[in-house]
Amino acid sequence: MRKCRSSSGSFGLRAGFLIGLLALPAAADHIKDFHTALDGLRANNLSLVDKVFIKDASRDCADRLLALYEMGAFYHMGGDPKKSIEFFNTADDVAHEYEGRAIVSAGAAGRTTGAILVNDSVLKYEGSAYDKVMSRTINAINYMLQGDLEGARVEVRKAEEYQRLERERHQREVRQAPPRGTERARMDDPSVRATYGRMNDYVKNVRNSFENAFTYYLSSQIYLAQGEAGLNDAMVEIKKAYELAPHAPGVRSAYLEIAQAQSGFAYDQARALLRVADAEPAAPGAAAGSVVVLFESGLVPQMDEVKINLFAENKLYSLAFPIYNNFGTAQAPLAILAPGRTFTTTTILDTRTLAVKALQERMPGILTRGLLGAMAKGEMQQNAEKNWGPFGGLISKVATAVMTSADRRSWLSLPAEVQVARFKLDPGPSQLELRGPGLAGKVALDVTPGSLTFLVVRAFPGYQRIDVRTFPAGGGDLVAPRPEPPGIPPVVPAPILQ
């Protein structure tokens, strides 16, 4: 656990330098705290999560938003949606506060100065666009697991609204950007291209970091849980998911199913768009119940650091940039064994691509601050040598080398991938068996005609959790007073495989 770093705005260069020194181990501390919390989750001891994150989460400091996101995700994974909602809703308020601050903010200007002199860890963690979308997406799952479909719909609307506003802002920026701006030119520098080439290749097909097909897919399923009333909204959302992931099997089958439920015309249109042969898919039985599997698999990778030290004119120019070197491997699917049939999840979201894309989008600013910082520190070394002699110069060079570090902070408890499956089961009791690498479990369901069951599975090495929530046919909206849900079917705990 570390001390909450100040985020006071009215400080000058000297104060910025000092605060920067305090911020020095920020990313390393965050990664260490994250692993402590992870151990706590594996040991079913969420108090460790509180221990490492609650201090930052509850006061105005640079890492507050990051701590809130981590806590929300840990409580989500730990099976406490109520607490997870509290943290995500507070995170939402904090993010709003940051977004709404003055365009020319003394505090932000001071922190940027500090970031130039030291490193970007001085800056407030304001959250990447995908952080904001994913926090609302996970929160929608939290509300849904609590049986609160109205709350879940609010969250998916928030996610949709954020993605729309970001898309509009992005389009404005593209229109206003000069054809070859300084920052863009800097990204085209051969050394930068060589360093970040692998990362750029990894996300070359990713449109942006703020939109993802899973959020839209989840929205469509949450609208579907409303019954007939949610059909149109479900269609709108699945179309957006299809635009982003036209080849994802989960999206395609959901598109067809929603179109089929909507009308014969919509179904014909969808079949033509998806180029589906007449034979597939089989018309679902009207009396069947639907099961949606949301499989949150693995964890997003951590950022690494690229550090460059150059000696020129008796000055040390030190530069450090964040980079993703290790993207991890593709997550294995989850097999769901139903009586007489086996279903398999397919990937709908690779969160790693969003994380890498977000870093790529931030790189021009990071490069600019890094270069300005290197020049400012070079000047400081020269002044130190002039005022305090060679020893002062040496000390300032050592300080420059030590202080220069990349801001590697990112939300680490997000899943590496989200995979989905959707299938129908005949009414009556049904036993499902889940099998995946390092994951095994059984779920007993009591399927009623037209019901919609969500199976939320979270797994990463050393941890697994399965939660189930069923909504009755025709909409699961529970009006006040909200009765307790009919009960979560028993989940047979499986041995945790290390």
Binding site: R101, I103, S105, L165, A480
Partner: protein
Amino acid sequence: MNKHSLPLLGIAAIGLCLGCSGPVTTYGNAQATETVNADFGSTDLQMIADKMVASLVSSNRLQPDPADPGKPPLISVTRLRNETSEHIDTKSITDKIRTSLIKSGRVRFSALEMQGDLMNQYKIQGTMADTATAKTAGKQTGSKYILGGDISSIVKQTGKVKDVYYKITLQLTDIESAVIEWADDVEIRKDSVRRLFGS
């Protein structure tokens, strides 16, 4: 000023400073316009309740129930459906409307939300109370109307300007005939502009 008074003054000054450092709490006017941000707030809630109540009371659509003559009609309230992208406590809106309507004396309301508590009372009174005064289930008055609706929003943002539009629709339906006897909506538009300079 003698030399002994200086330390006392110092202590008093420190005390004053410490006294000033705590949070300052004041009472505000609950009816005053609240413009902290563009999110749904107390002023919106009051505005909706006032306009809806005035509209319903002046509509002359409230008719006594022939099965319950001589008394103002009985209404059941359902929760407002929240179709916005904010977590709004819609129960506060319906509570405010219900309270204002009850105060008008034109209608009565069924305690739908208290059915659980009422059931407990029936059980307790059925075993513990004097049979002469014990209240039993199955004697509640049936409502003539049901009051319900929804609240939706559209959010637009261009640069530093955020525009939020809320629309709240309420309708009163005759339960027996399923005829919508009254409906009205209230529209609210709020803009928030990011300041150019600030802390």
